[in-house]
Amino acid sequence: MAEPKPFYLDEKLKEVAARGYLDYRSHELPTWCPGCGYFGMTQALIEVAHELGIPHHDMGIVSGIGCAGRAPIFYDAYGFHTIHGRALPVASGLKLGNRALSVFVITGDGDCLGIGGGHLAHVARKNVDITCFLYDNNIYGLTKGQSSPTTPLGQPTSSHPYGNPDAPLNPMALALTYGATFAARCFAGDVAHMKGVFKAAIEHKGFSFVHCLSPCVTFDKENITWKRMRGLLADPPPNHDTASLSEAMRLAQDPRYITGLFFQDKSRLDYQSYLDQALKDFKG
């Protein structure tokens, strides 16, 4: 048996640095639990940004509070760790303040659909040109396991030890109803697929909504687990028409975890472009 090739840390680091991704990473180590899907989602966004050639100083990463809220701290970009539930309005203001920036929102199921539930509707229907990544782990993780707006009905949690009495929201159906012009879903366990979805979402001009599924490995060891999630994954039917809102809505009701592009409206102007156009029309 041949001697294994010696492995030197500095050589490995050089190799990693040569890929160009490290520019996007801050020196802070992520504080998520081992096994959390958010590591993969962070990496996917880094790789996609690099591949799309977005300089890290032109990236605005806006978050709220919660496990997902910590994300901007681990990027070397312009990060905006705001208050609970309010990432979307701040991101909208940031983009309207400087349209040259690529603005990403990283929010969680409690942040986006619970405390900040009122904002998703309005930033979506305004079609502000930002990309919203909803990191959905079906639980309030940072406060240690209370029911979130996407926790399944009947699941015991620390706030509902006898079972969650509230029916979960359907994030994808909400985004479609609110008028998101791009809606897709991905799974934290498949980085390659996730990158494709992220890329399409970032390239979309208008409000893009990406529902990112990731099980909570700490506070749900029985119900929505990696294994169970993987088993329920499915692709959209091959003839799915992404321009059809009604087909997308039907897909959103599917009890399986369908991942991929649900809906895209390429014709509608984003908010800033609409304002520009309206002013041009007014001035004649």
Binding site: H57, D58, G60, A77, T82, I83, V90, G93, K95, H119
Partner: protein, 595 residues
């Protein structure tokens, strides 16, 4: 040269041209060199037959408050105008319609309510309006014609103002208005013998080119003058008109208006645009400010600029949406968790609504902190003629301290400095990447939770306010400078009434002075101490029940205060402050001195 100081009220039903009549009068008198202040009241309901009062004070000296009593009451609707009679002086004049459409019972005509000492002139407003323009709509202009004839207002000046005001309307509208006015003027001159002594004649006022605007309009002008890029807001009385004016004008200069789903989103947009390095503002009233509290706190912690205009109305909760009050001082200063620095400016006049808004944009950007401007319903809505506002100093238009190349080598967003201000890199700047966070953080912006950092960072954030205080105008001190019997210490829109009351008290032989700070946070405590030290007694009038400002200075200055904390649903009248001064000075003629 004689001085005049006359308050005119036009009273009628919604839709009778009361407010437009008042506006024409104010504009005309301003054009002729008089000082004017208008504060109209109308019903909260959009439709219906509610009472409208156009209240305008016109004088040859600077007008500081709207005046508690009227000298002349023009009735376009006797039912409503009779209710308005208690505000008319005992020697006042009433102009009424002597030939109304319907037959009025004796107690339904205002003519039956005129008291001895008052003068009344009946003018067939409706008849003359029909004669001049063919319908009843010109009654307000006929009344203005009568007013001009009776009190010696130059009719040419009035018609010139009318033509200017309606320049964009159809010619027939201009003609009808002008003809109605002239009909009223000529009829009155030929048919009425003047028996009262009020007159604008004999005052040598010089024609003046002044701007007439409300506090809200002044805020809008200032925002545009300060290169505002984004306005985000949610409709709320009395701040809504700021959004409406900006919605017309801001897009034309390339800016963005966002009508948001709530006030939380509005301030979120403002903070987001501020982070991008653009100037942004929102405007609201008490209930909205409550919703914004958490974000204002965040802006203080993450050191983001934000300009928040809060036009106060009666509270708490939904309160009295169309009544003025000064009761949001506490929430503006203290509506926060933790030790949360912010700058709170309180303009005292329409002119200061402009200059302070310009200053607010500068301070917010320079000190990277939220700035709250406290207006109130009265300041927001009252019209004042002012010198055309000046553009802000160029230094105020680029106030951000950008990092140097050396700073960017190892960039510390929250670097601890002597002034507390850290160089701020804007997104898009290579090398300036950082995370703005509401968590306590070290100089690099990394969340940390140790006592040493927390203390150093809190001190740094407050140090910025000490430095800001040096460039904010010191409190305004008018009247006597030493041996003051009664000093009046107040804030915001009550300052004008206080200064007027002090003038009158000094004319009555009382040594008196007034002081009002431009900013309530940071507070110029040393100046307030010097003022109170020079006063035997100190009176603090303000428009709230609990004496919020008095409580504030009570904590800053060791002193006993006489409080005049009132919520009359109207500005505190100069007359009331004057009475209180005289009470305190114990020389009020014929009045009992209160214990």
């Amino acid at each position: 040269m004689a001085n005049v100081d006359i308050v005119i009220e036009i009273c009628g039903m919604a839709g009778e041209g009361v407010i437009s009549g008042g506006e024409i009068l104010a504009r005309c008198m301003s054009d002729q060199g008089f000082d004017i202040m208008s504060f109209d009241s109308y019903p909260a309901e959009i439709r219906g037959f509610g009472k409208c009062v156009a209240h305008t004070r016109i004088g040859s000296k600077p007008i500081l408050s709207p005046g508690k009593y009227s000298d002349i009451l023009i009735s376009l609707n006797d039912k409503h105008a009779i209710e308005q009679l208690p505000a008319l002086r005992e020697t006042g004049v009433v102009i009424y319609d002597s030939m109304p459409r319907a037959y009025l019972e004796e107690d339904e005509s205002i003519a039956g309510w005129i008291e001895p000492g008052m003068t009344s002139y009946g003018v067939p407003l409706l008849q003359l309006s029909h004669k001049a323009a063919g319908d009843a709509r010109g009654r307000n202009m006929v009344a203005l014609g009568a007013l001009a004839a009776l009190f010696h207002i130059n009719p040419d000046a009035m018609t010139a103002t009318l033509k200017k005001r309606y320049a964009k309307k159809n010619q027939i509208v201009i003609d009808n208005n002008v003809n109605s006015f002239l009909e009223g003027f000529n009829w009155t001159r030929e048919n009425i013998v003047k028996t009262d002594r009020l007159s604008f004649g004999g005052v040598r006022a010089k024609a003046a080119d002044k701007a007439i605007m409300s506090g809200n309009q002044a805020v809008v002008r200032a925002a545009l003058d300060s290169n505002i890029h984004l306005y985000a807001g949610y409709p709320i009385t009395p701040a809504t008109s700021i959004m409406e004016y900006l919605a017309r004008q801001l897009p034309l200069s390339g800016g963005v208006i966002v009508q948001t789903e709530d006030e939380i989103s509005a301030i979120g947009h403002v903070i987001g645009a501020g982070f991008a390095g653009k100037r942004a503002m929102t405007a609201t009233s008490g209930p909205g400010l409550c919703l914004m509290s958490e974000f204002i706190n965040y802006a203080a912690m993450a050191e983001c600029p934000a300009v928040i205009v809060n036009s106060q109305r009666g509270g708490p909760s939904t309160g009295l949406p169309t009544k003025t009050e000064q009761s949001d001082l506490n929430i503006a200063l203290f509506g926060a968790s933790g030790d949360s620095p912010r700058i709170v400016l309180a303009p005292r006049s329409v002119a200061e609504c402009h200059s302070f808004t310009c200053m607010a944009f500068h301070l917010a950007e320079k000190y990277q902190t939220p700035v709250i401007l406290l207006l109130d319903f009265f300041l927001s809505r009252s019209l004042k003629n002012i010198d055309h506002p000046k553009l802000p100093d160029k230094k105020w238009l680029a106030s951000n301290l950008a990092p140097s190349a050396a700073d960017l080598k190892d960039y510390k967003r929250y670097k601890i400095t002597n002034s507390g201000v850290s160089p701020r890199a804007l997104p898009g700047t290579p090398g300036g990447m950082h995370v703005a966070t509401g968590l306590e953080h070290n100089e690099k912006g990394k969340p940390v939770y140790d006592a040493r950092t927390h203390t150093a960072m809190t001190a740094k954030r407050y140090r910025k306010l000490d430095h800001a205080a040096r460039e904010i105008p010191r409190p305004l001190w008018t009247g006597d400078k030493k041996d003051i019997a009664v000093g009046v210490l107040t804030w915001g829109s009550t300052a004008g009434a206080a200064m007027e009351a002090v003038d009158r008290a000094r004319a009555a032989g009382v040594r008196a002075a007034a002081m009002s700070p431009a900013c309530l946070a940071p507070l110029h405590t040393a100046d307030i101490e010097a003022f109170t030290a020079a006063c035997r007694s100190v009176l603090v009038p303000e428009g709230n029940f609990t004496g919020q400002f008095a409580n504030l200075i009570d904590g800053a200055v060791t002193r006993q205060f006489h409080r005049l904390s009132e919520i009359p649903c109207a500005p505190i009248p100069a007359e009331d402050i004057f009475d209180k001064i005289m009470d305190i000075a114990k020389i009020a003629k014929g009045r009992k001195v209160k214990a």
